[in-house]
Symmetry: C2
Amino acid sequence: MSSQNDAAAQALPDRTQNPAEDKAPEGGEVSKNAAKKAAKAAKLAAGKADKALNKGIGKSEAKQPSSKAAKKKIDGAAQIGIDVSKEEDFPGWYQQVLTKGEMLDYYDVSGCFILKPASFYIWESIQNWFNDKIKKMGVRNCSFPLFVSEDVLQREKDHIEGFAAEVAWVTHAGSTPLEKKIAIRPTSETVMYPYYAKWIRSHRDLPLRLNQWNSVVRWEFKHPQPFLRTREFLWQEGHTAHLTEEGAGTEVLQILDHYAHIYEDLLAVPVVKGRKTEKEKFAGGYYTTTVEGYIPATGRGIQGGTSHCLGQNFSKMFNITVEDPNAKPEEKLPPVYVWQNSWGLSTRTIGVMVMIHSDNKGLVLPPRVAETQVVIIPVGVVKSLPQEDREAVFKEIDELKDKLESVGLRVEADLRDNYSPGWKFSDGELRGIPLRLEFGPGESKGGFVTAARRDVPGKEGKSEIQLKNLTTAVPALLDTIHDNLFRRADEQFRAHRRTLTNWDDFVPLLNAKNVLLIPHCLTEACEDQIKDLSARKAEEDSDVPEDARAPSMGAKSLCIPLEQPDGIEAGVTKCLNPHCEKLAEKWCMFGRSY
Amino acid sequence: MSSQNDAAAQALPDRTQNPAEDKAPEGGEVSKNAAKKAAKAAKLAAGKADKALNKGIGKSEAKQPSSKAAKKKIDGAAQIGIDVSKEEDFPGWYQQVLTKGEMLDYYDVSGCFILKPASFYIWESIQNWFNDKIKKMGVRNCSFPLFVSEDVLQREKDHIEGFAAEVAWVTHAGSTPLEKKIAIRPTSETVMYPYYAKWIRSHRDLPLRLNQWNSVVRWEFKHPQPFLRTREFLWQEGHTAHLTEEGAGTEVLQILDHYAHIYEDLLAVPVVKGRKTEKEKFAGGYYTTTVEGYIPATGRGIQGGTSHCLGQNFSKMFNITVEDPNAKPEEKLPPVYVWQNSWGLSTRTIGVMVMIHSDNKGLVLPPRVAETQVVIIPVGVVKSLPQEDREAVFKEIDELKDKLESVGLRVEADLRDNYSPGWKFSDGELRGIPLRLEFGPGESKGGFVTAARRDVPGKEGKSEIQLKNLTTAVPALLDTIHDNLFRRADEQFRAHRRTLTNWDDFVPLLNAKNVLLIPHCLTEACEDQIKDLSARKAEEDSDVPEDARAPSMGAKSLCIPLEQPDGIEAGVTKCLNPHCEKLAEKWCMFGRSY
């Protein structure tokens, strides 16, 4: 058994320092002066970042808005690990977890972020899984240009209205002004559909199912947030055309199931499948389905991914038709406008996952998407041990690693000689590695490894695994970790998804971090009213960053869940909004949201 | 054996028609009127496209510059297949092969193209292969932003000089002018290296090896050419940092080997590995290595992919240093600037592959990257056959498909009932499917399939494969096809790579579509002179599109091959340029080039 203390109060070097600052000394020790200096620098950076954000675009040196980072320290925790708590300063915590966990870095163009290998690995895992599924459905990947001409972009009025304010325009090449400005795609409907009109010649060309993995740009002026609201983001966008409404509708739900699967079975994040209201549906589409998640720390809902049926709206704009296959020979029937879908899932997935699982020690990564699933750390290999005994332990660790890799696990052996075991424990926790294996002379003698789960801190998460069971027990334990992360998040979501039939409970329960299922008429005017009634006016102040204002936001409709509770009697049950005279159509989920 | 005629003069519907035109009638027949109409439209489109190009950005309707497409028909060939010959109108042929082979479509922003699934599949094959290799080297994928601020872009002077004229600038978001314009990355050195300076804290962080798959934008004003010269293109860019020159140098060559492997073992394209001269090396770098290909039809060399050692130039600009690991305790040594590499391979690969292998019947795809490797086509299933016999053949074809798929092959069964076998043969040829299997009542009775190779037209490419050998014989035949494509291209490259020791032969051999290995001094002034001496001045006319001017271009240095012939005697052998007084340093490969 390990003789190490896994409270790991040893100082961790700050991996998120600004390039302009001094580099931290190597090794486990960071002086108090350095820590103070870092705190001061963080404050400074936060101030600069706020200023920069107001100007629209920031400067290179001002990009780490750890707002309250330097203020609210976690009592007794390591000074240089995560130094704010998830409970007290959620935005500051989120930023530190991402940067110190090596998932992301801030970038010198405001609203843009660097996805470091640890987070990009998660995206690649999602890509691999989803590519496999959609290729089986007959979807083919392709690549359309980044640019779209103004004419084409504006072909569909409702659609462009949803994006116009956020479109980035290229006006110059080198020092030469372009004759016509060119947009960077905010999404690719209008980029792709002129070609669908050209390529679809016959009903035999249907369904046409294309997908692309790319980035899109939406130049939002709201406070950016890594993964959740960024000016450029990575996603996939599927665009398909079908002969019938039914064919399109079937696919919409297949894709929605895949999205739910990605959240639940890869990221261990529970979601509710549902349909968006008319107010919240995709601009220019027919109907939108969605997977909605929930962030317990803030009590806010979050849209996880959307699968839209566009109906025939775009096919009419872009003239995408086929001859009617039901026409008899010689019969002249009008052409059939195709039914279209589009569906997208973005790197927002990663942000949701981090917000839900991670804790005050850092990241917690679900095992199926973690770049490193297991870290093996030598323990008890003290300097006084004879050299050959130390080498024997290192050799055994290499063998353990090989064994685990031979069953397809992703394993790191942390044999660095300039860090103590405790430092390495904290480092592994900061980076969210799901399972730590400790191995030293004691373990060697006893024929076991000491396992420490990232999802269950302290002694409860520790166990001994016999070496003879290693290749079965470790994969099983990783599955247990996944299941536990999912179960925990699912319990929280269920506990905070409240079914209401009394309006008086609405605002108090909303303020108690719940999302609320209510009987609703599904009209836009009523939604606006509910938003209004549930906002705390006094605190609405545009100078306060959105995160701080979040508790005062009004509730909006998140979705109409596909699984409906009982209790709405057609023609009888009223909409819950006391100012609304209409009858309830469905249970609709409302909440504050991202 | 098949009773079908595989000369397949049956008309193929034109898949590249303009959206504005009438749709071709369904089925195998296209009237002569329709063919004439299409030819006329192509002429019109070509005219419009030329105009549009001169204006910088094209209009939606003017995007298919099949210049001479409508003029030079191949005698006796199908009217609606490829209707110009590779020999007589190479640019027109290339455009038709790509569009009719469903690889690519023209786009309404000039210089941008749509990569359709068939070509994107090839790119995905390259991605999968290369990802596997580089991950084994310790390279990790990540994602840096599309945008770069002006300040950062211009940090390295020589480097930006190489790109400045082609940088696309974003100046507005919606209708709001940005306070500072923002560039779209032409490459990511300056995007990434400020963060390398931040992340690299110690020699223990080295080597740092990151790669990204993305698109970059270089707003060229020269005549665009699909895959070869486009304003946006897909590539991978690797950026690594090393403690020593030696470490960096080793990686440069490992990557170059991987690039050569992609060309030779995936795309069946022979390349010459070499080093660029000072004149041709990467702007701001230390030295550049390259794989150079050769297009027999034009006799021009083409740069296939480059792996650069950047030396310490960027690390000095961006201040990327570590402490000297050789310093004794307490010893103060100056910090060490890291050694950096960058290396990139783009979708140009696909263009080179198409130009080399494809023929007057359409695409020829090498089997390892073809989305469909085998197409099975029913033959002899005439209408007069009893329904149950016809169905029996279809069922057997399904079984053949399953069998071949069970050994990992990518197979299509073309059971469409509205096309004749001959039409399907031509369609498969147009799309470059490496192997066609014909199966009908005769084959069923005899227990075999008739195989027809795409790389060897006519009877010579036909054989019978016993059904009992199917799952071994077909993969073997696909390997044979790959080998044959490579061998053929390699023979052509070798036959046109001429070693010269007499200047008088230079221009005549250049005009005879050769690339030329000559003893050279490696100085820039001498290269400029050789280019001048080998250009045919009279034909230099900027109003003529580059493709037509190509035969008049001067020769430039392609590379200094790593494998050097004998014959240069140090201190004795003169540079081949008659106006150069210097001694030869190396054999250098010169040629007209893309």
